[in-house]
C-alpha cells in the first residue's frame, strides 16, 4: 500500500502544476473564455506538445498509456487553476470512448489526431428527459441500406460547439430507458441534418444543444457493438466522474487557500477575522472536508478501470457523493467567510464556487450517486 507517485507521475504533476501556474489567473482565464470557442487553442496546442492529449490511451493507439491516476494528476491541477480547455469532454470522454470501443481502423483514424490537438471530440449523449439516467436514450437510429439514419435531440453536450466529431448515442433497439439497444455513432458536426446551438455555461465553460434531423451515416460510423453501447458508456462516464472528482479536489484546495489567506489578512474590529473562533472552526471543517474529498478522489482514480463493474460503481459513486457534499460545504463557506467580496465577479472565489457547484450536477448529482452506491451496498429486498 502506498500513496506515492511514480517518478513519471511526479514529473507529470510538476509539469502541469507549472503550466497552470504560468498560464492561468482570473484575468487570463477571462481572455480564454472570450475566444469564439470559449477556450485557448494556443494552450490546447501546448497540452498536445506535452503529451497530455494522448495521456489516457495506449501507446499503440498513438497515446501515452496513462491510467486514471495520470488523469487525476492533470485534472487536479486543472481544478487548481480553473482551466477551461475541453479536456474532460474531448479527451477523457471523447477519446476515452474511442479507445474503449473503437475498431482498430477508427482508433487509427481518430486518436493520433486527437493527441496532436487537431481533432476535437464531444460526447452527445444526455437528452432533455434523461436527467442523469445513462440508459434514458430516445434519439433513434434506424438502419437504411448499409448505413443508419439518426433523429433526435441531445442536450447540454459539453463543448459540443467546438467539436469536429460528435459521438452520438441513439436507440437502435429496445424501449426507452432500457440498457440494451443503445448504439454509438461517430458523426461529423458538419454533416447534413446536424444542428448545433452553442452557449456558455454558468461555470464559464461551453456546451451545446444538438439536433439530429435525418442524419445519415455510413455503416462504419458505428462505434463499438451495435445495441451494446451501455456498458462502454457507463465505463467512460465513470472515468469522467473520477476526473471530475480530481478537478473538484483541486478547486477545493484553491478555495481553502484563498479563504485562509483572507482570514489572515482581512481585519475587522481591529483584528484579522481569522482571530474569531467561529470562523476558525469553520475553516477547520473546510480542511477536513477537503481531506476527505481528496481521499475519495484518489480511490476513484485507482478504481476507474476495475473489471469488477459492481465494485467500480460502488467506489465511483461513493467518491461523487463525498465530493458533492464536501464541495458544497467548502464552496458555500468560502463565499460566506469572504463576505461581500466573495460575491463579486472580479474576485476569483466565485468562479471556483460556480464550477464546483456545477461539478456536483454533472453526470449525476449527490442523490443520484447515493442511490447508485446503495444499490450495490444495500440491494433492495
Amino acid at each position: 500500500m502506498d500513496f506515492d507517485f511514480s517518478e513519471e507521475q511526479r514529473l507529470l504533476d510538476e509539469t502541469v502544476r507549472r503550466l497552470v501556474k504560468d498560464e492561468y489567473d482570473i484575468v487570463k482565464r477571462k481572455s480564454y473564455i472570450a475566444a469564439p470557442e470559449g477556450f485557448s487553442r494556443k494552450l490546447w496546442a501546448r497540452y498536445a506538445e506535452l503529451g497530455l492529449l494522448g495521456l489516457p490511451f495506449a501507446e499503440s493507439e498513438g497515446g501515452f498509456g496513462g491510467s486514471a491516476v495520470e488523469t487525476m494528476i492533470v485534472m487536479e491541477s486543472f481544478g487548481r487553476g480553473l482551466v477551461v480547455e475541453p479536456y474532460l469532454a474531448a479527451i477523457v470522454l471523447g477519446a476515452g470512448l474511442v479507445s474503449l470501443a473503437g475498431s482498430a481502423a477508427q482508433k487509427r483514424a481518430i486518436l493520433p489526431q486527437v493527441a496532436s490537438g487537431k481533432r476535437l471530440l464531444a460526447f452527445a449523449h444526455g437528452e432533455r428527459q434523461s436527467r442523469y439516467a445513462l440508459a434514458d436514450v430516445e434519439t433513434t437510429a434506424s438502419r437504411e441500406g448499409g448505413g443508419w439514419v439518426l433523429d433526435g435531440r441531445k442536450g447540454v453536450v459539453l463543448n459540443g460547439d467546438s467539436a469536429d466529431t460528435l459521438i452520438v448515442s441513439a436507440r437502435s433497439a429496445g424501449t426507452s430507458r432500457e440498457r440494451r439497444g443503445i448504439t454509438m455513432f461517430l458523426v461529423d458536426t458538419k454533416a447534413k441534418g446536424v444542428g448545433i446551438r452553442g452557449y456558455p455555461t454558468v461555470d464559464g465553460l461551453r456546451a451545446a444543444e444538438v439536433t439530429l434531423e435525418s442524419v445519415r451515416v455510413a455503416g462504419d460510423a458505428v462505434l463499438g457493438e451495435p445495441d451494446g453501447a451501455y456498458p462502454v458508456i457507463e465505463h467512460a462516464v465513470d472515468r469522467a466522474l473520477a476526473a471530475l472528482c480530481a478537478e473538484a479536489v483541486g478547486i477545493m484546495e484553491t478555495l481553502n487557500a484563498v479563504t485562509l489567506d483572507y482570514l489572515k489578512t482581512r481585519k475587522q474590529f481591529g483584528v484579522p477575522i481569522g482571530a474569531f473562533q467561529a470562523l476558525q472552526h469553520r475553516m477547520a471543517d473546510m480542511v477536513v472536508e477537503h481531506e476527505q474529498a481528496k481521499s475519495m478522489a484518489m480511490l476513484a482514480a485507482l478504481s476507474a478501470d476495475l473489471t469488477d463493474v459492481a465494485e467500480r460503481r460502488r467506489v465511483i459513486s461513493a467518491a461523487k457523493v463525498q465530493i458533492g457534499k464536501s464541495g458544497r460545504f467548502v464552496g458555500q463557506q468560502s463565499i460566506q467567510l469572504h463576505g461581500g467580496i466573495g460575491m463579486t465577479e472580479e474576485y476569483l472565489a466565485g468562479h471556483y464556487f460556480k464550477r464546483l457547484t456545477m461539478i456536483e450536477q454533472s453526470f449525476g448529482d449527490t442523490d443520484h450517486h447515493l442511490n447508485r452506491f446503495a444499490e450495490v451496498t444495500l440491494p433492495a429486498g
Binding site: 455555461t201 454558468v202 456546451a207 463576505g339 466573495g342
Partner: protein
C-alpha cells in the same frame, strides 16, 4: 390563543388581495415571479400605485402619510404582496431614511424629503458599507469636512444597492477623526447628481449588477442636509438598523418560491416520473416546507409580541437566520431540480422582452444564477455570524 385571523383582519386581507389583483401590472408581476431583472421604473410603477392608495409607507406616523396599521395588518399586507408577486417597495427611502428623518430630522428636511419619498420622486440608496468596513461598520473612513455652510465629502462606499438609479443617498461620514470610532460619525443626505460622485457597478458572480461602488471626490454638500447633530450619526444609524425588521423573515417570498419549486419538481422528470415523486427529492422539499411553516409562526409570534408596543428586539436575528437559510435552500433545490439544465448560462433570458426559445425549460435560466445570487442573503444586513453574536450577547448575556 388562536391563529385564525379576526373578521376585521380577514376583511383587510381580502381588501389587499383585491387591490393587488386589480392594480399590479402583469409585466411587473411576471418579472418578480420569474426572477427577471427589475429596473427603476418597474419598482416605481407599483410604488406609485401604492402611494395613491396610501399604502406605500404604512408604518409611518399617520400625520406623515402612514396608514395607522397594526403589526398584524402590516404582516398581512407584506405577505399578500409577496405571495402575489408584487415587487417590494425599495426600502431605502420608506423603511430606512424616512423614519430617521421623521425622528431626528429638522422641519425643512421633513417638508422637503418625506413627500418625495412617498410619491417616488426620490429614489434613495444607503451609504453605509465601505471597502474596509464590513461587519465592523463603525470603522468607516469616508470623511466630511465642514467649510462654511457646506461639507466637503471624500471617500468611498460599496455594496450600494440601487445606487445606479437612485436620486439620493444617505451617508454615514466621519466628521471628527480624533474621536473614538463611534463618536465622530455624522448622518448626511446627499444628492446623487452632485458633481464629484461616481457610481461604478459591481457585477456579482451570477452576472447581475444590482450593487455598486460609490466614489466621493471633493463633493460639496449643503450643511442643511445634516440630519440631527454633527457626530451623533451613529445613534441614528443604530435606530435605523434596529428598526423595522418584521419583514426580515421573508416568509411571503419564500412561500411563493416554495410553490414554484413544487411546480418545477412536478414538471421535471426522473426515470419518466415526476421528480417530486422521488422519495429523496420529496423529502427535501417537505423538510424545507416544515421549517418555513415554523418560521411563519415564529414570525407571527414576534409580531404579536410587538402589539404591546415593544419594538423588535434581538429576536429578529432569529428570523434573519432561519429566513436566510430557507431562502438559500429553496434556490438550491430549484437548481438541483433542473439537473444538467441548470448549466446553460442565459443571462439575456433574464431581461424583459427576451423572447427567443429558451435552452431547456423556460424556468431554467434563473435557477443557477438565483442560487449564486442568494448566497448574499447570509452576508448582507448583518451576516449570519453577526446575527449569532447578537443573539448570544443581547438575548443571552454571553
Amino acid at each position: 390563543m388562536q391563529l385564525a385571523y379576526t373578521t376585521e383582519e380577514q376583511a383587510f386581507r381580502e381588501e389587499v388581495g383585491s387591490f393587488i389583483r386589480d392594480n399590479l401590472p402583469a409585466d411587473v408581476r411576471d418579472k418578480v415571479l420569474n426572477g427577471k431583472t427589475m429596473g427603476r421604473e418597474d419598482y416605481l410603477r407599483w410604488h406609485r400605485l401604492l402611494y395613491e392608495r396610501g399604502w406605500v409607507a404604512p408604518h409611518w406616523p399617520v400625520e406623515h402619510g402612514g396608514a395607522g396599521w397594526t403589526a398584524v395588518q402590516r404582516h398581512i399586507f407584506e405577505d399578500e404582496c409577496a405571495e402575489a408577486g408584487a415587487p417590494p417597495v425599495i426600502p431605502f427611502g420608506t423603511t430606512m431614511c424616512g423614519p430617521v428623518i421623521i425622528r431626528f430630522g429638522n422641519d425643512w428636511q421633513k417638508q422637503y424629503f418625506l413627500p418625495k419619498i412617498l410619491s417616488g420622486e426620490h429614489v434613495w440608496c444607503q451609504g453605509f458599507s465601505e471597502p474596509g468596513s464590513g461587519s465592523d461598520l463603525a470603522s468607516l473612513r469616508t470623511k466630511a469636512v465642514r467649510e462654511g455652510d457646506h461639507y466637503i465629502v471624500d471617500g468611498q462606499k460599496t455594496w450600494t444597492t440601487s445606487a445606479h438609479f437612485a436620486d439620493w443617498i444617505f451617508n454615514l461620514v466621519r466628521t471628527d477623526p480624533a474621536a473614538k470610532k463611534q463618536e465622530g460619525i455624522s448622518f448626511l443626505l446627499i444628492d446623487m447628481k452632485t458633481p464629484g460622485i461616481t457610481v461604478r457597478p459591481i457585477v456579482t458572480m451570477d452576472g447581475s449588477a444590482e450593487i455598486n461602488e460609490v466614489f466621493f471626490d471633493n463633493v460639496k454638500v449643503p450643511a442643511k442636509n445634516l440630519v440631527g447633530e454633527e457626530n451623533k450619526g451613529w445613534t441614528y444609524a443604530k435606530f435605523l438598523l434596529g428598526n423595522e425588521r418584521t419583514g426580515i423573515a421573508r416568509v411571503g417570498a419564500s412561500k411563493r418560491e416554495l410553490k414554484k419549486l413544487k411546480e418545477i419538481a412536478s414538471n421535471e422528470r426522473e426515470g419518466g416520473r415526476p421528480l417530486a415523486a422521488s422519495p429523496r427529492f420529496r423529502d427535501k422539499i417537505a423538510a424545507l416546507e416544515v421549517e418555513l411553516m415554523a418560521l411563519e409562526i415564529t414570525n407571527l409570534r414576534m409580531i404579536a409580541a410587538m402589539r404591546g408596543g415593544k419594538g423588535p428586539g434581538p429576536e429578529s436575528s432569529i428570523l434573519k437566520l432561519k429566513g436566510s437559510d430557507i431562502q438559500q435552500r429553496l434556490a438550491e433545490l430549484v437548481m438541483e431540480a433542473l439537473g444538467p439544465y441548470a448549466m446553460p448560462f442565459q443571462r439575456e433570458a433574464m431581461e424583459a422582452g427576451w423572447n427567443e426559445e429558451p435552452i431547456g425549460p423556460d424556468y431554467a435560466a434563473f435557477a443557477a444564477p438565483h442560487y449564486f445570487n442568494n448566497r448574499k442573503i447570509s452576508i448582507y444586513g448583518g451576516s449570519n455570524e453577526i446575527q449569532r453574536n447578537v443573539i448570544a450577547k443581547m438575548m443571552l448575556g454571553l
